[in-house]
């Protein structure tokens, strides 16, 4: 579901302004939720580069998020590195991991890619869970110091930390956006639509996918280090398969292939989780139902669905109508229903 350009710009400006100003008006509790939205949203945006733009369904994306958080944590807690350089080490760790896993996963075709990323991701979870002397195992790794930007005071205050994370996310999101509209990004979309044709046109499709994979891993890593800086604690659940699946859900809820939509998807999941957790313990059950309902009724994402419904009501003047056929919708999702095998 793609919106018209001016409308998109308007949404972005409004969203940006809201993100800048909200912590000034809302209770600090909401600032915490906004921080989580930004962090998970950035991770999902990096996944969208693979899932929405390149057509690679990675089901192990939490591995890069968590590995970066752990690398940063281990550097700070066990090696006494200062927090800011440790963040750099964490991002680098995630990028290196993606560079390694990419070598194994990128060769594989559609479904194999999905399973391999899933299995490799769970391998990293296993490492975090069992390598107790380094990671602290099931108990997690506490004691990650807050970031110190060199002003002499570390970012302990939620609002100050929020603006730091917002800046980092905005820069990363802008760079990701530039990447998706660059010739490289267009080539990725070409690969999503038809890899064979792109290869025939002389593109090194493997290299394109590989670079996208490493960039996505590194960006998820940045999100992971921001999370660790905020949370001060990492545990194996941060790179569990549930996290990977949640990231995919966030991308799809926000509309895959829309990049900024992932922020909306993340906001929905974070706020819904906190709202529901206040009333019931059954968040996971509800999350499962949200998954199923999304696939059944809103595969184009919540925003896309809402706009399409609104468009139908106002005779389609505001926004283009929803794609009529399921194939078109899935085309947007990066799934080619008609493609055989590969």
């Amino acid at each position: 579901m793609r919106m018209r350009r001016p409308l998109r710009l308007l949404f972005l400006l409004l969203g940006g302004a809201a993100l800048l100003l909200l912590p000034q008006f809302l209770p600090v509790y909401f600032t915490h939720l906004l921080i989580l939205t930004l962090v998970y949203g950035l991770a999902a945006m990096s996944l969208d580069l693979l899932l929405g733009y390149t057509g690679l369904t990675s089901f192990g994306h939490a591995a890069y998020f968590g590995t970066a958080a752990y690398t940063m944590g281990v550097a700070i807690v066990r090696l006494h590195v200062r927090p800011l350089p440790a963040m750099g080490v964490g991002v680098l760790g995630a990028a290196v991991l993606a560079a390694l896993f990419g070598l194994l996963a990128i060769r594989a075709t559609a479904v194999y890619f999905l399973i391999i990323t899933l299995a490799l991701g769970m391998g990293m979870w296993g490492l975090a869970y069992r390598w107790v002397s380094v990671t602290g195992g099931d108990n997690g790794l506490p004691g990650i110091l807050p970031v110190d930007l060199g002003f002499g005071w570390p970012l302990r205050d939620a609002v100050a930390l929020y603006y730091f994370i917002l800046t980092a996310c905005a820069v990363a999101a802008f760079l990701l956006y530039r990447l998706t509209v660059s010739p490289f990004g267009l080539a990725l979309r070409g690969i999503r639509e038809s890899e064979g044709r792109m290869r025939m046109l002389g593109f090194n499709t493997w290299l394109h996918k590989y670079v996208a994979f490493v960039v996505a891993g590194g960006t998820a890593g940045l999100a992971g280090t921001l999370y660790a800086a905020y949370n001060g604690f990492v545990s194996p659940t941060d790179l569990h398969i549930t996290g990977s699946a949640e990231q995919v859900l966030v991308v799809i809820l926000g509309g895959s292939g829309t990049l900024f939509g992932s922020m909306i998807g993340a906001g929905l999941v974070v706020f819904l989780r906190n709202l529901i957790s206040a009333y019931t313990q059954r968040w996971l059950l509800i999350l499962g139902i949200v998954f199923i309902a999304t696939v059944m009724y809103a595969p184009e994402g919540v925003l896309g669905k809402a706009l399409a419904l609104a468009g139908r009501r106002f005779s389609g003047r505001l926004v283009p109508a929803a794609p009529a056929r399921r194939e078109d919708v899935l085309g947007e999702l990066g799934v080619d229903a008609r493609e055989e095998g590969a």
Binding site: T57, F59, L103, L104, R107, A108, T109, A110, V111, Y112, L114, I115, I116, L118, A119, L120, M122, G123, W125, G126, L127, Y129, R130, W131, V132, S133, H240, I241, T242, A245, V248, L249, I252, R282, W283, L284, L285, L287, G288, I289, V290, F291, I292, T294, V295, M296, P299, L330, L333, G334, V335, A337
Partner: protein, 284 residues
């Protein structure tokens, strides 16, 4: 020597259990291209159902039958009303099965609580057998035996019967099978249900020696995936070889490098993938 033999037998029994999961996973994938994330949940539900049935009736056989029936029904419902609508839309199907796996995990937690529980092995098998220098639980021998029998029966059915021929035809070319008058729809539903039941059976068999606890589903699932990645998706022979390999590697990993145990499994997997991206017996 005793250590190696003991670990080998432990690994084999775990491999036999993994085979019950991986063969269904592989079959479902081969026929329907569904990557079933909920397959671990079938294992978990099978184990919990067995726990409840054994506690109320004291019959292990009844537990097996109940688990088979319940999971086959769940399989029919999931395939018929949800997955069949998304034929060949892999991403949509994965998300669906992922949603189901979350829902099942939470339902199990709700119904059976969060404490780890253990199912007692049937009284007749709750003893040890001496095998030369190694003393080995009889129950684990039984599991190896059961795995071998299931593998043999599956192989015989697939290779020697009319039903097997139809399934193989549908795996190779579904349109052509349809064209030749095979009613593929019910066949797919049936095979999905069969795979689910087999995983549930795995849960019952695994409960006495692995325990039943929340999270058992996501513990076994990556191992089952490792089996099919190593063996090759859709291949029965691959599932046999893969599950033995993974079972043994996992146990030696745990015994030799306890801190890296889970990870040691994924190193050989990575090497095999690097050499043969479609697995040992996969056809790509």
């Amino acid at each position: 020597m005793e250590f190696w033999l003991g670990q080998m037998l432990n690994g084999l029994s775990f491999g036999a259990l993994l085979f019950l999961l991986a063969s269904g996973l592989s079959l479902i994938f081969g026929l329907m291209r569904i990557v079933n994330i909920a397959h671990g949940s079938y294992y978990l539900l099978g184990a919990y159902i067995a726990l409840s049935v054994v506690r109320s009736t004291r019959s292990f056989t009844l537990a097996i039958l109940t688990a088979l029936a319940v999971l086959a029904s769940i399989g029919v419902l999931m395939q018929r009303f949800f997955l069949a609508r998304f034929y060949r839309q892999e991403q949509a199907q994965v998300l669906l099965t992922m949603g189901f796996s979350f829902a099942f995990a939470d339902l199990a937690l709700w119904l059976w609580g969060g404490d780890p529980q253990r199912l007692a092995a049937p009284a007749r098998l709750a003893r040890s057998v001496a095998l030369g220098p190694v003393v080995f639980p009889a129950y684990r021998f039984t599991v190896i035996l059961v795995g071998a029998v299931v593998a043999l029966v599956l192989w015989l059915v697939m290779e020697r019967t009319r039903l097997g021929a139809i399934v193989r035809a549908a795996v190779d070319d579904q349109e052509m099978a349809r064209g030749l008058g095979v009613n593929v729809g019910p066949l797919l539903t049936g095979m999905f249900a069969f795979g689910a039941a087999l995983a549930g059976f795995g849960g019952v068999m695994g409960a006495p020696f692995l325990g039943v606890y929340p999270g058992a589903d996501s513990d076994v699932l990556p191992l089952a995936f490792a089996v099919v990645i190593i063996g090759g998706l859709g291949s029965l022979r691959g599932a046999v070889v893969g599950s033995m390999l993974v079972g043994i590697l996992d146990h030696f990993g745990k015994a030799l490098f306890p801190e890296l145990s889970y990870f040691t499994l994924f190193v050989p997997m990575a090497i095999i993938l690097a050499i043969r991206p479609t697995g040992l017996f996969g056809r790509g």
